[in-house]
């Protein structure tokens, strides 16, 4: 195995340009599971851990190398709440938001926040420089993204006008250190409510029908909240697998959306 410990982004981009199939290593919380569990043996690995630039964070730009343990204490309330549910303290100290985005698991804990924020993914290659991909265009399927083989995820770009009222919740089969069965993130701003969900479709999704319904209401009544739950349950596209059932995920998605809308009003 060839291992490049890149000191800066240019070095990493050069390595990736030369070896587009090289695996990228940041926190290693996904890659090392593949190595140890599935006996995946990458031929080349480019480590991004020493690249300080990827660890920079501002209110509108979160470096791909920012760890969950930093996001837990960050300014974006919803992202902080989501970060708090990622793995164990050890995993949170290692795992990064860039890794979460790159792995693009439907259960990725950071992804509903990105969807709700209408954030974009900043990627860079040596050949073509930087491009900024809206999240809808970035996540294309289960663990599939539109990242090119020679590209590296450099940041999550956050619009500067995202609502401050943000609420996150995640259902799992135990009360800590658990993979998501359903997750939901609600933002409430001047332009109305945004509802994003995880683990209920191949990619993170926005519950656009429920948002439209809710944002057309003059006042959020109990009936409107019930309707949110119903509409969200209908518009998600979950599957049955060894972690849960389609029916439960639909139900829980609706319940979480309703509760978070309610919570965001308090």
């Amino acid at each position: 195995m060839e291992f490049v410990a890149a000191h800066d982004l240019d070095e990493a981009l050069a390595a990736k340009a030369e070896q587009p199939d090289a695996e990228l290593l940041a926190g290693g919380t996904d890659l090392m599971v593949e190595v140890n569990l599935v006996h995946h043996r990458p031929k080349q690995v480019v480590s991004l851990r020493r690249i300080g630039e990827l660890r920079e964070v501002s209110s509108t730009r979160i470096g791909a190398g920012v760890t969950w343990s930093r996001l837990e204490r960050g300014d974006h309330r919803g992202l902080a709440e989501a970060a708090r549910t990622v793995g164990s303290p050890q995993i949170r100290a290692a795992g990064t938001i860039g890794g979460n985005v790159g792995t693009a698991s439907p259960a990725g804990d950071g992804l509903p926040w990105i969807a709700a924020a209408d954030a974009a993914i900043e990627v860079r290659s040596k050949a073509r420089g930087t491009r900024v991909v809206p999240w809808r265009d970035f996540f294309v399927g289960v663990k599939r993204t539109s990242l090119e083989r020679d590209e590296i995820i450099t940041a999550v770009v956050v619009p500067d006008d995202i609502p401050e009222a943000q609420e996150f919740a995640k259902v799992g089969a135990r009360n800590a250190m658990v993979i998501s069965t359903v997750s939901c993130l609600v933002m409430r701003g001047d332009d109305g409510f945004r509802i994003a969900l995880g683990s209920v479709a191949p990619t993170p999704i926005r519950a656009t029908a429920a948002e439209g319904m809710l944002n057309a209401e003059a006042k959020i009544t109990e009936a409107a909240l019930d309707e949110v739950a119903r509409v969200v349950s209908e518009e998600v596209r979950p599957i049955t697998d060894h972690r849960s059932t389609e029916a439960y995920r639909r139900h829980a998605a609706g319940v979480l959306a309703r509760r978070l809308v309610e919570r965001s009003l308090r």
Partner: protein
Amino acid sequence: MTTPTRTHVTGGIGTSVRRPDGVPKVTGNFAYASDLHSKDMLWGATLRSPHAHARLISLDTGPALAMTGVRAVLTQDDVPGLPLFGQEEQDQPVLCDGVARYWGEPVAIVAADDEETAQRAAASIIAEWEPLAPLDDPEKAADDGSLFRELKIRRGDKEAAGTVVVEGVYETASQDQAPLGTEAGFAIPDGSGGLDLYVTSQWVHVDHRQIIACLDMEPDQIRCHPAGIGGAFGAREDISLHIHVAMLSLATGRPVKMEYDRSESFVGHVKRHPSKMWYRHEADADGNLVKVTARLLLDGGAYAHTSRAVLANAAFFTVGPYRCDNVVVDAQVVKTNNPPCGAMRGFGAVQACFGYESQMDRLAEELGVDPLDLRRQNAMRGGDPLATSGQVIDAPLPTVEVIDALEAIPLPEPLASDDPRLLPGGTGLTTPASKVVRGVGYAVGLKNVAFSEGFDDYAEARVVLTRAGVEVHTAAMEVGQGLVTVCQQIARTVLGIENVAVVWDDTSHIGSAGSTSASRQTQMTGGAVHAASVGLRDRILADFGGDELRNDGVYRAGERIATIDEICAEGPVEHLVRFRHPETHPPDENGQGDVHAGFVVAAHRAVVDVDPELGLVRVVRVDTAQDVGKALNPQAITGQLEGGIMQGVGLAVMEELVVDHGVIRNPTFTDYLIPTFLDAPAVETRIIEAPDPWGPFGAKGIGESPTISSTPAVVAAIRAATGKALTRAPVRPQDIVGI
């Protein structure tokens, strides 16, 4: 017991002596089996069946043999002796015999210079399979007569009938023991054609018997040594990699190490039997049990292991600790292509308890009486016959006392916090306190101690006095439960000498201690150590005409008459005992007879907070009262009671091997969930001491009971909170929501 308890010995029975392995385990200095190594060793790896049921058409080991660093590739043709193993029945091929009967069945083994090469070599072997339809439905297996054992119990009047009748069908899932230490073994050639084998085990002698048969070796050629175990819970009762690592070492003439990773561990050891149970309880109008009718169906998976004994436990504890004169039980354990099942803490009694305690709650509801009063009213005591086998309990059985002690523990305060760590859903922030409903549930469980049904169950121990102190020699496996401390305490108390070391001998140097299972070692090896210590002490006292042994010698009337050096003038003095419990007998054709050697009763009360709308649960508290006979080491007992409860909570709310067409879908700790610290309830314990007639100082084996009634207590509490029937453990969120 006639032995007086010495009060002047430090570290004797009844005190919470600190265990010698505690600090090394916490600081990382304890040598587990997986830590064993030598510089010229090879690594072993296993190729496993990717099918639950398939015919092996061809196996090409060429690619593996061609790899640099590969020293041996072995298949079933290379097994030197008996090609089959098994603790009770030798029915499992050492390596695939042409048909794979479960997913993950070992097919070929490889030894190579390093772990990576061994694994890559195993993966490079080309196996051609013809998939066959797996028999994965236990009910179909029962219909087809694919059985490991069937047990019918007929007691009393089959025409008897009660006026109040409740019926229910209950299911429990397969649970993994999930010990933190995975399977590991180390084999070292002795230069004369034999081996020293270091294995994780609960019973080295029964491993040894199977290993020498498969290797076609004389008993002394293979010496099994216990290696450090990171948890067992039944998973170390059956052979896993033991024969494989020995074969690789014999084939290469080199030391060989094998170690399973977590995913391989999930397929590499036997599990708790999943069950389905059909129950009918009949009572008179006053609530006295009149008749219990039940059918129990356990899925044993592909090979026998201990399925026959597990079934017997489930069947004989069909009614639990309650009096009932008329009992009909049809119990079967079927053979399927699902993962093989065997021993796990509670051993059949866990499944039955979920059934009968669910039924007792239903009966109480039907009668409109308090569920604890109903249990007290029907409680079995010493002198009563066991409802199933009719065996009269010839020892105290404090069923009512444990219920009373449990009920007296104050209930926790109502939920008064929005701290997410105290709410269902935990850090997932799913649940506001306003959505939470509290429930309280109870269960009582009965378990036998030691081996039953006429098994020649014994434990050997040799107690030796040397100039340096006392040695207790045994082959009894310390698996983390604290046996070593108990052996020390017993020897100290009897001999009056504080300096006691426990020495594990290999299979050539001491007889069997029997299995570290069935809650038996405190009573069996503890009994052997007690008897050997008494024998040694009495001989020394007789030889010197003394009346008391102390740290510094023999005393008569308070005066020392011989020093330890004088006692050992001609060398160490020792006493060897092979200890047996009272004889048991196989059941007759109606399942009647004195089948068991002893009984333990425990009760649990669970308090849960439930979010009914999302189906999420937080187990707030599980309190317990348990009969321990005599508390030899109160802290160790508390540890067992608390740990057992965690395993019971796991089965109640999250632990389940998801098996689909014979394939385990969640063989990782990502998806096979065990309780975290945040899921662990607070526990209050009450220890009841009703002395056992043959346990050392009256002690009883206590390791399994904490896991038996804790599961139904938690499920009962969730029922109380939600009003749902919840007939299956674990309770899943969708079960509570009802979708």
